[in-house]
């Protein structure tokens, strides 16, 4: 009898004790691919194609000849430039498609995120090696480089926080800011149109 109870308890607690069940939740869908792009999912590496879902914990790898566009489950569109590695660390939406939490991890490369606005505060963050960018309802870019990261904002605002010093810099629309490893964020400044155009071009998927 005790063994039976233990078995039942184990069955009941299985979903709680296995985070991978939640981690495998669908996070978005590929809506555009240029060149050869790959996904690392559950230890398997496979090419990406239009219409294919991506899951939480997947890592997308966009090589130098590729570009990728994802539509996340809340409607957020993430365009990924060539030479980028990005992991979907968390992506939770409710039954109505409202984002509860969104977290991407950018190892290297450039993202353009058009974040779907929510009716209430809902986090959308991108982690890099040197810091975190947190946004709410905005159109923006983030690029992770060796030892630094930079953010450019077209609409809305982004809060760029140093992983080392925990100090933040607010970046409003048409502004950008950089962050170097181990230091405070560089004070934000207006970006020239040419600077925005450069990152737009790099993330546009034909």
């Amino acid at each position: 009898m005790p063994r039976m109870l233990a078995f039942l308890l184990a069955v009941l607690l299985l979903p709680i004790s296995l985070p991978s069940v939640a981690m495998a939740a669908p996070a978005g869908t590929v809506v555009g691919v240029s060149g050869s792009c790959f996904v690392q999912s559950g230890g398997q590496r496979a090419p990406l194609r239009v219409g294919q879902p991506v899951q939480v914990a997947d890592t997308v790898d966009v090589p130098a000849d590729g570009k990728l566009k994802l539509r996340m489950t809340d409607g957020t569109v993430v365009s990924v430039a060539a030479g980028t590695q990005m992991t979907i660390s968390a992506y939770v939406t409710d039954a109505g498609g409202q984002r509860q939490d969104g977290k991407l991890s950018l190892a290297q490369g450039l993202l353009h995120a058009v974040v779907s606005p929510m009716g209430r505060p809902a986090s959308f963050e991108v982690d890099t090696a040197v810091g975190t960018a947190a946004v709410r309802g905005t159109d923006w870019f983030i690029e992770a480089l060796p030892g630094s990261a930079q953010v450019g904002v077209l609409e809305g605002s982004v809060n760029l926080t140093s992983a080392a010093t925990k100090r933040s810099e607010t970046v409003p629309a048409r502004w950008g800011a950089r962050l170097e490893a181990g230091r405070d964020p560089v004070p934000a400044r207006l970006w020239a149109p040419a600077e925005f155009q450069a990152v737009i071009t790099r993330t546009e998927v034909p």
């Binding site: 077209l154 609409e155 080392a164 010093t165 100090r167 607010t170 409003p172 629309a173 048409r174 502004w175 950089r178 962050l179 170097e180 181990g182 230091r183 405070d184 964020p185 560089v186 004070p187 934000a188 400044r189 207006l190 020239a192 149109p193 600077e195 925005f196 155009q197 737009i200």
Partner: protein, 305 residues
């Protein structure tokens, strides 16, 4: 920017007050940037690039009186609104209210001439933290109160501006240093107002740049927002002087940068008796509209993307 206007204020009291004009803030530098370099708002020198901003400052300075009824103290309240037309072209409008205390003769007050200027950002070299701007200032004659020195004659001043950060050089803890400056030639519409050669320099040391680009020290938050700087400005008549003399002023001080605003305070140290007779003070609040209202009044009238 109202160089001529400021000088007109000085003409009221002949040489002494002329210098008062020198210290009157016009087109203070605000949030101009190139690369990772932000040039904070200056008070004495004009802005070196177009922007969307509003700033107001007050300046108080003792003058050199020459007898009863002559000015011995001047106070100016200056307001400037700047608007970008395109990303590189901007317009500035400025009004200055002047109060002049006279020796045993009460106080005079009134507006200076209305002033307007255009600036075009010609060179923006991000990696080298360098920018260069062309400007044209117009002071409209007879639009202010003559009792405080507003001239019946206007003046037109072509100008050049520059800003250079030293962050691209391998000089360690000196990388937060930056230099800005301007030069201009104020051509009067009519006599007896003299033509003037004007110019100035600032030297700045940015603590935010030190913390974010050089080395992160564990400094208090307040210190992290400071930029100590010293300004120097001068003017000298060219051709017939009509009693004007060369004036020069130093402005050592400090600027504190918040998110979308700056507060600066400087001492005013005259370099000659023609400039003033003692140390004055000036303070400025600068509001960066392009930061606080980037989608409305803070963006250029015509811009991309």
């Amino acid at each position: 920017m109202g160089w001529g206007k400021r000088y007109r204020a000085g003409l009221v009291a002949a040489g002494a007050a002329m210098l008062a004009g020198l210290g009157f803030s016009n087109n203070a530098l605000a949030y101009s940037s190139t690369g990772d370099r932000l040039f904070p708002a200056t008070i004495l020198l004009p802005q070196i690039a177009p922007g969307d901003e509003f700033y107001t400052n007050v300046m108080a300075m003792p003058l050199t009186p020459s007898g009863v009824g002559t000015p011995n103290y001047v106070t100016n309240f200056d307001e400037v609104y700047a608007k970008t037309i395109t990303d590189r072209l901007g317009i500035f409008v400025e009004e200055t209210d002047t109060r002049i205390d006279q020796v045993h003769a009460g106080t005079l007050s009134g507006w200076q001439n209305f002033d307007m200027s255009l600036k075009y950002l010609t060179i923006l070299d991000l990696p080298h933290e360098f920018l260069f701007t062309l400007g044209l200032d117009r002071e409209f004659g007879d639009t202010g109160a003559r009792r405080v020195g507003a001239s019946p004659s206007g003046a037109t001043t072509p100008q050049v501006f520059f800003g250079k950060g030293l962050g691209d050089l391998d000089i360690g803890y000196l990388r937060p240093l930056a230099v800005t400056g301007f030069a201009g030639y104020s051509a009067a519409d009519s006599r007896p107002r003299p033509d003037l050669a004007v110019g100035g320099l600032t030297v700045q040391y940015s603590i935010p740049y030190l913390e974010s680009k050089v080395e992160s020290f564990d400094l208090p938050d307040f210190i992290r927002g400071l930029t100590p700087m010293t300004e120097f400005i001068f003017s000298t008549p060219t051709g017939k002087s009509f009693g004007e003399r060369t004036t020069a002023l130093f402005g050592p001080g400090v600027s504190y940068a918040g998110e979308g605003w700056e507060l600066a305070i400087e001492a005013l140290v005259p370099a000659s008796r023609a400039t003033g007779r003692g140390v004055g003070v000036t303070a400025q609040l600068h509001i960066s509209l392009d930061f606080l209202a980037p989608d409305t009044i803070g963006k250029p009238l015509f811009s991309s993307p």
